[in-house]
C-alpha cells in the first residue's frame, strides 16, 4: 500500500502543475491587461509563480520520493537516527530568507507607481460608490469639481485612451471597492475619506467595473462599465452629457416656474 499512497501524493505536483500549464492556454487566466502599469503586476505574478512553482515541485517531489523510498514495508536499511543538522538548518533558513527579501525589494517600485506617485493633475472624474451603483461626476468645462457646470452620470465611466485618468474615489454609505480587472486597479471606497486612484488605459474598448468589497445584499449587482475611447469620442460623450443635462435643467426650471 505504501507505493499506492506515494503515488497519490505524486498526483499533487503532477496535476497541480498541469492545471497551471493548461489554464493560460484556455482563457482561464488573468484578463487581458490594457493599462500602462499593468505589465509590472503581471510580470511580478509570473515571476512569483515561477519561483514558487520550482519550490512546489522540488518539495512535493521530495515528499513523494521519501514516501516511496522509506516505506517501512520495503525499506531494508536501518533508520537514520538523527536529531537534525546544523548546516542544513542554516542553509534552509538563509536561502528562503534571501529569496523573500529579494521579492520584497523587487516589488517596491511597482507598488509605488500604482499607489504612491500620484500624478500632478486635477481629478478627471469623481466616483462615489453607494448601495448599489456608481455615481459619476465630471468637472465640466472649468475642469474643477464642485462647480455649477459639473456633469453627472451613473455606472458608465468614460475615459480617454492613452491619457492618465485621476479618479477621486468616495463612498456615500458603506465600504465598496473600485475594481477594474483589465486595468489592474483595485481600491476600497471608504465613507468619510476621498482616495485618489489613477491609471492610464492603452487600448480602447469596453470593460467591467466590479464592486469587490461586500457592501450589502445587492453587492453582486453593483456593476459598472468602463468605456475607454479616443479623445474625440470622449469629448463627444461629455458634450452630449452636457446637452442632456441642460435640457433637463431647463425643463425643471420651467416646471418650478409653473
Amino acid at each position: 500500500m505504501g507505493k499506492f499512497w506515494s503515488f497519490l501524493f505524486l498526483l499533487v505536483p503532477v496535476l497541480g502543475v498541469g492545471l497551471f500549464v493548461w489554464a493560460p492556454f484556455n482563457h482561464h487566466w488573468l484578463p487581458r491587461d490594457v493599462s500602462a502599469h499593468g505589465y509590472q503586476i503581471d510580470h511580478l505574478f509570473n515571476f512569483i509563480l515561477g519561483l514558487t512553482g520550482v519550490v512546489f515541485i522540488v518539495t512535493e517531489m521530495l515528499l513523494f520520493w521519501f514516501l516511496w523510498r522509506y516505506d517501512g514495508k520495503t525499506n531494508k536499511s536501518p533508520v537514520k537516527f538523527t536529531h537534525g543538522s546544523h548546516n542544513l538548518e542554516i542553509v534552509w533558513t538563509i536561502l528562503p530568507a534571501a529569496t523573500l527579501l529579494f521579492i520584497a525589494i523587487y516589488q517596491m517600485n511597482a507598488w509605488a507607481d500604482v499607489k504612491m506617485h500620484k500624478p500632478d493633475m486635477l481629478p478627471t472624474v469623481e466616483v462615489t460608490a453607494r448601495q448599489f451603483e456608481w455615481r459619476l461626476r465630471y468637472p465640466g468645462k472649468d475642469g474643477k469639481l464642485g462647480t455649477e457646470d459639473d456633469l453627472f452620470h451613473v455606472n458608465e465611466l468614460h475615459v480617454p485612451v492613452d491619457e492618465m485618468t485621476l479618479v477621486k474615489l468616495d463612498s456615500a454609505d458603506v465600504l465598496h471597492d473600485f475594481f477594474l480587472p483589465h486595468m489592474r486597479i483595485k481600491q476600497d471606497a471608504v465613507p468619510g475619506t476621498s482616495i485618489p486612484v489613477w491609471f492610464k488605459p492603452v487600448q480602447s474598448g469596453e470593460y467591467d467595473l466590479v464592486c469587490a468589497e461586500l457592501c450589502g445584499w445587492g453587492h453582486y449587482k453593483m456593476k459598472g462599465r468602463l468605456f475607454v475611447e479616443s479623445r474625440s469620442d470622449y469629448e463627444r460623450f461629455l458634450a452630449e452629457l452636457e446637452k442632456k443635462q441642460t435640457a433637463t435643467n431647463v425643463e425643471k426650471k420651467a416646471e418650478a416656474e409653473e
Partner: protein, 598 residues
C-alpha cells in the same frame, strides 16, 4: 521540580472528593479536563456539520445560480421558490466563516485537543484551574445560543462578512443582517473570547507549572509547544478584539460612532452624528485576527509533528529550530496585520512596511516544512490513517504557504485581493492544513480517549476520498483567482469578465458535495468504534510521550503512577536500544549513552 510533585499530589486529594459524583457532575459539569475536552470535541464536530452545510449552500449558488436547490430548497426558501436569495447568500458567506473559525477550528484545537492532551502530555493529573476550565466550555453555550437565535430574528443572521467591516455592520439599516443579527453576532463573539481567554490562562499555567519531574521545556512534545504559543497569542491578542467588539456594540446600541464617519445617509436614513473612522475597526480586528490565523494552525502543526515522528519511527528533525520557528511566528504575527488592508485606503507607505514583515513571516513556515521533510527522510514509514492525514497536512501546507507569497506582494495583491485566490489560500491553510491535521489527531488519539481502536480500512477510505475531493474543490480556486473572480458575489456571471468560469465552478461544487458525503465515513467510524472497536491498550502506536503511558482511557487523575521524564519524546530507533521506541518515562539503562539535545 519536587514542589511540582507535591503540588500534584495535593491536587489528587482535592479531586478524589468529586471522583464518584453524580451523573451531572461527572459528565455534564465535569471538572475533569478529559471530559471537558471530549465535550468540546463533540460540540465542535456538530458545528462542523452546520458550517459544512452553509458551505454547500455557497457552492450550490456558485454552480447553479438562482436555481431551485434540490430537496431542501423548498423548505428553506419557500418564499423565493426554493432558490437562494441574494441577502441569504451574503448571510451564508458570513456565517460559514464565523461558524468554522469561532465554533470549529479555534475550539477544536485549543478546547478539544488542548484540554485533552495538555495535562496528559505534561504528566499532570489535571489542569491548573479545573473550575475555570469547566467554565471555558460552558461560556461557549451562550455564544452557540446567540448564533442560533440570530438565524431566526428579523433580517436574519449577520451578513456583513465574518470580518464584520463597518459601516455595513455598524449601521442597522445598511443590510438585513445588520439589524438584530449583527448585535447577536457581536455578543456571541464576546462570549467566545471570554471562553478562549479562560482556556488560555489555564493552558499557560499548566504547561509552566505542572510538568512532571524531568520534563523540561525542551523535552515537551511539539503539540504542547503549539498549544503553549497559541495560548500566549490568545492572551495578548484577545483583549484588542474584545475592545473592538464592545466598540461596535456601542456604535450600534448607543450611537458612539467610533467607526462611522460624519453625515452618512444609508438607505435613505441618517446614520447618526458619526465622527469616527471605518479603518479603525479593520486595524483592531486584524490585530487579533492575524494572530488568530496562527492560533488556528500552530496546534495542528504540533500534532502533525508528533504523528510524523511516531510513524516515521525517527526523531523529529530539528526540534529546537521547530520551537524557535513557532516562537518566531508568534512574535512576527503581531506586526503583519496590515497585509489584510493593502487595498483598504491605509497609507500605501505603511503597506510597504507590512509587506516586508509579511514576507519575513513566511520564513519560519518554510523552516518547519523542511524539518518535516527531514523527519520522514530515512525513516521506516508506517502508512496508518493518522500518518496519511499528517503527510497530507505537509503536502497541502506547502501549497497554502506558497500561495501566501502572491498576496504578500503588494502589487500582485492589487489584482488578486478579495478574489478566489485568497479563498484558495486560506482553505489550503485551514481546511487542507488544520482540518486534515485535526482528522489525523482524531484517528491518532481516539484510542487514548475512548480505549478502542478505530477501523483502519474505513479510515483510509475516508482519507482517500477527502484528499481527492478537497483538492478538486479548492485547487481550481487558484485559477479562478488568477481570472479575477471575486469572492462573496452571489452571481459573478453577469460580469462579462467572469462568465466563462461557470463550468469550473460546477466541477468544484460536485467535488465539494462528494467531500461532504465522505465525512460520514468519519462519523460512522467514530460511532462504531466507540462501542465495538478492538481494545486499544495503553500504547497502541508504540509512541514515547507521556499520555501513552496512562491507561486508555485514563481514569480520574490520569496516571496510576508518578510519571518522570528522562528524555525528549522523539527517541525512536535509539541506537543500541532493544525496541524501536524509548518512552520518556523509561529510566536509562546502565551504561547507555543518553541522547543529547544537539
Amino acid at each position: 521540580m519536587s514542589t511540582t510533585v507535591a503540588g500534584s499530589h495535593a491536587h489528587d486529594e482535592a479531586h478524589g472528593a468529586h471522583a464518584h459524583g453524580s451523573f451531572l457532575s461527572t459528565y455534564v459539569f465535569s471538572l475533569d479536563h478529559k471530559v471537558i475536552g471530549i465535550q468540546f470535541l463533540f460540540s465542535t464536530m456538530l458545528w462542523l456539520f452546520v458550517g459544512g452545510l452553509l458551505a454547500l449552500g455557497i457552492r450550490w449558488q456558485l454552480a447553479w445560480p438562482w436555481t431551485e436547490m434540490p430537496v431542501i430548497g423548498k423548505i428553506l426558501f419557500a418564499k423565493e421558490g426554493g432558490q437562494i436569495s441574494p441577502e441569504f447568500y451574503t448571510m451564508l458567506v458570513t456565517m460559514h466563516a464565523s461558524v468554522m473559525i469561532f465554533f470549529v477550528i479555534i475550539p477544536i484545537l485549543a478546547g478539544a485537543f488542548g484540554n485533552y492532551l495538555i495535562p496528559l502530555m505534561v504528566g499532570a493529573d489535571d489542569m491548573a484551574f479545573p473550575t475555570l476550565n469547566m467554565l471555558s466550555y460552558w461560556f461557549m453555550w451562550p455564544a452557540f445560543a446567540l448564533m442560533i437565535c440570530s438565524f431566526f430574528v428579523e433580517g436574519g443572521a449577520s451578513a456583513a462578512g465574518w470580518t464584520s467591516y463597518p459601516t455595513l455592520s455598524a449601521i442597522p439599516q445598511a443590510a438585513p443582517g445588520s439589524h438584530t443579527g449583527q448585535t447577536l453576532w457581536l455578543w456571541g463573539l464576546i462570549f467566545v473570547g471570554i471562553s478562549s481567554m479562560m482556556g488560555s490562562v489555564n493552558y499557560m499555567t499548566t504547561i509552566i507549572q505542572m510538568r512532571a519531574p524531568g520534563l523540561t521545556m525542551f523535552r515537551l512534545p511539539m503539540t504542547i509547544w503549539g498549544m503553549f504559543i497559541t495560548a500566549v497569542l490568545q492572551a495578548f491578542a484577545l483583549p484588542v478584539l474584545t475592545a473592538a467588539l464592545f466598540m461596535q456594540v456601542l456604535d450600534r446600541m448607543v450611537g458612539t460612532g467610533f467607526f462611522i464617519p460624519e453625515g452618512l445617509i444609508v438607505n435613505g436614513q441618517s446614520a447618526g452624528p458619526g465622527g469616527g473612522q471605518p479603518l479603525l475597526w479593520q486595524h483592531l480586528f486584524w490585530f487579533y485576527s492575524h494572530p488568530a490565523v496562527y492560533i488556528m494552525i500552530l496546534p495542528a502543526m504540533g500534532m502533525v509533528s508528533d504523528i510524523l515522528t511516531t510513524f516515521a519511527r525517527k526523531p523529529l528533525f530539528g526540534y529546537k529550530p521547530m520551537v524557535y520557528s513557532i516562537s518566531g511566528i508568534a512574535g512576527l504575527g503581531f506586526i503583519v496585520w496590515g497585509h489584510h488592508m493593502f487595498m483598504s485606503g491605509m497609507n500605501p507607505a505603511l503597506g510597504t512596511t507590512f509587506m516586508v514583515s509579511t514576507m519575513m513571516i513566511a520564513l519560519p513556515s518554510a523552516v518547519k516544512t523542511f524539518n518535516w521533510l527531514g523527519t520522514i527522510w530515512g525513516g521506516k514509514i508506517e502508512f496508518t490513517t493518522p500518518m496519511l492525514f499528517a503527510l497530507s497536512f505537509v503536502c497541502m501546507f506547502i501549497i497554502g504557504g506558497l500561495s501566501g507569497i502572491f498576496m504578500a506582494a503588494t502589487p500582485v495583491d492589487i489584482f488578486i485581493h478579495d478574489t478566489y485566490f485568497i479563498v484558495a489560500h486560506f482553505h489550503y491553510v485551514l481546511f487542507a492544513g488544520t482540518a486534515m491535521g485535526v482528522f489525523g489527531g482524531i484517528y491518532f488519539w481516539f484510542p487514548k480517549m475512548f480505549g478502542r481502536m478505530m477501523n483502519e480500512p474505513v479510515g483510509k477510505l475516508h482519507f482517500f476520498l477527502t484528499f481527492i475531493f478537497l483538492n478538486g474543490t479548492f485547487y481550481p480556486m487558484h485559477i479562478l483567482g488568477a481570472g479575477g473572480f471575486p469572492r462573496r458575489l452571489a452571481d459573478p456571471y453577469h460580469y462579462e469578465t467572469f462568465k466563462h468560469l461557470l463550468a469550473m465552478n460546477q466541477f468544484m461544487t460536485i467535488c465539494a458535495i462528494c467531500m461532504g458525503f465522505s465525512q460520514f465515513l468519519l462519523v460512522g467510524n467514530m460511532a462504531y468504534s466507540l462501542f465495538f472497536g478492538p481494545k486499544a491498550g495503553r500504547n497502541p502506536w508504540k509512541a514515547n510521550s507521556l499520555e501513552w503511558m496512562a491507561p486508555s482511557p485514563p481514569g480520574h487523575g490520569n496516571f496510576d503512577f508518578q510519571p518522570v521524564a528522562y528524555r525528549g519524546p522523539y527517541e525512536y530507533n535509539f541506537p543500541g536500544h532493544d525496541t524501536d521506541y524509548y518512552p520518556q518515562i523509561e529510566p536509562p539503562r546502565p551504561g547507555e549513552k543518553q541522547p543529547e539535545h544537539h
